[in-house]
Assembly symmetry: C2
């Protein structure tokens, strides 16, 4: 419907105009860091589509249609911003910039669900506790908190598993290039694997991941930590 940039113009006008402030071309130009001529151009398009009213040299006014569209965009912005700040702990300034990019790419349904998720997290002290204590700890130190490990299960390297044994991947500890390779093969924390075949000397090791057969070098298997299933 509207291009991403036009959505941003609408959003800016909406935010600048809260509290009934008159919004002028210059305000929008400053806010979006573009030249005034660029704004004039954008406003012309928005006017043609019925989102704003603007007389030469006058204030920019949102129509009903404009307000609806703008608040829909801004709600998304806010939901994404809140998620980034409250759940992930991204600094506000960065979160704001990223939210304003992302907002144009999520659909009605996703936006609604994300808003609900934020609301839910604010309402649920238990969830908050896990996020603010356990997740932050995991993020900062890589420590897997106690509440995550089930009782009586041993942590092993993938190389220590026997043929036929099933396990859950818990941690991958190696450099970016290997990690990235493992990732594209679907080997990520939380996934269940099964050892299919081990060659003499333990290289390569054939495993089953989500129904796919994969062959890992010993070097790769060595850095995958698993928990017996």
């Amino acid at each position: 419907m509207l291009s991403m940039t036009l959505e941003d113009y609408l959003e800016s006008i909406f935010l600048l105009g809260r509290g009934r402030n008159p919004v002028r071309i210059t305000d929008v130009a400053k806010k979006l860091k573009v030249k005034k001529s660029t704004v004039v151009n954008a406003i012309r398009k928005l006017q043609q589509e019925g989102f704003v009213i603007h007389e030469r040299y006058g204030d920019i006014l949102l129509t009903q249609k404009g307000i609806e569209m703008a608040s829909r965009v801004y709600e998304r912005h806010l939901a994404i911003f809140s998620f980034l700040v409250e759940i992930l702990g991204v600094p506000e300034e960065i979160a704001n910039k990223e939210a304003c990019g992302i907002e144009h790419y999520i659909g009605e349904e996703t936006a609604k669900t994300l808003s609900l998720f934020i609301e839910f997290s604010r309402l649920c002290p238990q969830l908050q506790k896990i996020i603010y204590e356990d997740f932050r700890k995991y993020k900062n130190s890589g420590t897997i908190p106690d509440i995550c490990s089930e009782e009586g299960k041993k942590m092993l390297k993938l190389t220590q598993l026997k043929v036929g044994q099933k396990a859950i991947v818990k941690k991958i500890d190696c450099d970016r290039s290997i990690k990235s390779r493992l990732l594209t093969m679907g080997i990520v924390p939380g996934v269940e694997i099964q050892v299919e075949k081990v060659a003499p000397l333990g290289d390569p090791i054939d495993i089953l991941v989500r129904g796919y057969h994969l062959s890992l070098r010993r070097e790769e298997a060595q850095c995958i930590e698993v928990e017996e299933a």
Copy 2:
């Protein structure tokens, strides 16, 4: 550095080429649903920047630089996709499309944190339980699960509060336009409010939210459910 569309070309080449398949212009055109001439154009730019090697009428090959860039993009795609599917419960096809839009707007730091969050959620059965049971219930029926309410606190309408009393907003139950207005004023579930002044007949009600003074009509206050602080 690279435009959003060029990142997508790189990502496509990377995915089409996994397992050492040769990638041709036609494959990319089909995957991204553009014309072959458009692909030729894009590949030329990617070649100039040293991301791919392509001889006329030949296969498209990623350089080392290209592989690094492409996998960085794809990792983001995967992290966002996983979040949408596993946490929010968005259908896979939609999640895939949205992830491919969003991936270009999140920074290194955010991407890493999001990946960690997904990992963490897969590792932590307690978090999974809250998301899969309590959040889904909240999402589908609006029911605030038991684990979220603290003992011995009463739920009230905002209109039932007395001057000076503090409370936490728990739920907003009204139509989009009012909800949107309340939202832009910072009244969202989880936020703390305090009643400042109530006019005769209870309209308007002045409240304090995050340090700001707001004046609400009775109609608006009526649909805000709160819990005594």
